[in-house]
Amino acid sequence: MNRSLVILLGALALAAAVFAGSYFVSQRACVTTMTRSADDLSWLRDEFHLSDAEMARVRQLHEGYMPQCAKMCALIAAKETEVQTVLANGTNVTAEAQKKLTELGELRAQCQAQMIQHFVTVSQAMPPEQGRRYLAEMKKITLGSHEAIEQSMSDHTGHEHGSN
């Protein structure tokens, strides 16, 4: 093979190795360093540039919300088990199964309303602009996925929910 070509290919391989090495080392170092000091609310502080005072208020709201959230999650989990049991016993959706499914849906809706109320309360503890951004982001994440699923289903089946 041509000597110049060998030199160039070697230089290219060396350059790729140098770049990849420095990229991976710095990425890992960055992730390790930044993750070490992170807690559950780190994202709020970093993303919405909250001061210590704002952060303390948000933390207080968060800690107040967590027991309510855990209680609702336990109720939903228990109801899901009931639904599974009822559905496992028969081949049809019985009246009892229908009732359990309705109750599960109600519990989820109740939990979701409570969650959104928490987001509203937290957004009010932030500076107005950041609060609006936080609320929009949380609505998009928590409600947007349902819209996406419903949209994809209506696209596939050729009908739309809620339109007569």
Partner: protein, 115 residues
């Protein structure tokens, strides 16, 4: 002094030159020069032109290889690559941490069953 002893220096020089010419003729006759290959002159000129012509196809690889082997160029390239790698790695690392922190917050406040 030998020169002073010679009565006619001019005639001595003349006979020496004649002897040289004869010697060259004898030498040439003893070692005949081989006949030139066909289109010898044309080939010589072609090679001279090729040597004087600016570098063309194929030689750009050589030029690039020579550039790569220059220490100053090599050090500068390595420094630029390390800098680019560190900057991109740090940026990507920060993005990864941000996504991880967001997922961590969401996992706490918004369970998957509600999303």
């Amino acid at each position: 002094m030998k020169e002073n002893m010679n009565p006619d220096p001019g005639s001595t020089r003349g006979s020496a030159e004649a002897s040289d010419t004869r010697f060259r003729e004898v030498l040439r006759a003893a070692r005949p020069s081989p006949s030139l290959p066909p289109r010898f002159q044309e080939n010589v000129w072609r090679r001279i032109e090729e040597a004087e012509a600016p570098a063309k196809s194929g030689s750009w690889l050589d030029a690039l290889a020579a550039l790569v082997l220059r220490p100053r160029f090599a050090y500068a390239t390595v420094a630029a690559l390390v800098l680019a790698g560190v900057l991109l790695g740090t940026y990507q690392g920060a993005q990864t941490v941000k996504q991880t922190e967001q997922a961590r917050y969401l996992a706490v406040v918004a369970p998957n069953s509600l999303r």
